[in-house]
Symmetry: C2
């Protein structure tokens, strides 16, 4: 411990080359799929040497795992930005994020679902990372439902997860006309009548 030279400002800061690789991979993997993007392309667009890449990511799958964890981090940050609200409003705001994402140019559905489709083995580290994110989100919804007075928050969280995945798919593949309205109707039908009316 003694003698290390890490400045206080270095805490949490990571190598700029590593960040460039991860940012480039996040962009390309999401836009074109994991298997469709090769290492050579990533290092070229990130402006990084091959040896540097393999220093930080000993194999491509480790980069894919880092990509999933990065998407998870970005997703949590988006939910954090919602701020403190009544439980039911928070749930609705979380699902509004689907519509927000779908409105972005280059939207291509859920990065976790897309990546899972490319990894058949459920024990693969990439699939494990996807499972972790899904469990986190499910449990978050469950706690919010419990705070909303839902009588069976666990089952309702299952149903909300189903709805969330379906909405991410629909907003990508079907592009329904009134997505925000479809989201509201779907979620309110699942949440049931609110306590205050």
């Amino acid at each position: 411990m003694a003698g290390h030279t890490t400045d206080i400002t270095d805490i949490g800061r990571e190598s700029s080359a590593r960040n460039r690789v991860l940012d480039t991979a996040t962009r390309l993997f999401y836009a074109e799929g994991v298997h469709a993007v090769g290492i050579d392309r990533i290092i070229a667009e990130a402006g990084v040497a091959k040896a540097t890449f393999y220093k930080y990511f000993p194999a491509k799958d480790e980069l894919v795992r880092a990509y999933i964890q990065n998407q998870s981090r970005l997703g949590r940050a988006a939910i954090d930005r919602i701020g403190k609200r009544p439980a039911r409003d928070t749930v609705l705001a979380i699902f509004d994020l689907v519509a927000d994402a779908a409105a972005q140019p280059g939207y291509r559905g859920c990065p976790f679902l897309n990546a899972a489709a490319e990894y058949p083995d459920p024990d693969h580290p990439v699939r494990q990372a996807i499972g972790e994110h899904r469990r986190w989100k499910h449990d978050l919804l469950r706690d919010l439902l419990a705070a909303d007075g839902n009588p069976d928050p666990n089952t309702s969280a299952d149903i909300l997860t189903v709805a969330g995945d379906g909405l991410l798919i629909a907003s990508h593949l079907d592009k329904p006309a009134n997505l925000r309205q479809l989201i509201r109707e779907t979620i309110l039908q699942i949440l049931g009548p609110s306590a205050d009316r």
Copy 2:
């Protein structure tokens, strides 16, 4: 027209080599993903020469398109086997097929969603074929909902599609304990109270 030698029994029958390729591709693409399976592997397992393969499928993407259409055909056949029932029962039976599929060994989610994840370009023929199947299923649900007396069958079909995709995802990635019950609860919540009670 005159002079062709096709026997009456040949109508609808296709080359056995072609069928072997398509069956093998259907099995491998579903189990491992489209980009993960190469032509060499398919022709080896189908027991077909490379020249024969390229005679029937001038490019891999055409095989992928045929794979999607084959899955569509299989899906329609499964729904046909349900037989004639009251509209609401038919809808519930269609969604029971999700639980049936999820109980099969080697279940890996929805072939259409998995394939769509690997084709970013929505104008690609493979994506077009996926869109065709999705529109067919959506319209089938819409007509059944209309027959069930649903006041807004189109919107309800949108919601049922969302639920169906979400259930296919959940049954694959989350493997919830009581899938059949989750399906019933989700669908009945969307369909609303039945007319006869």
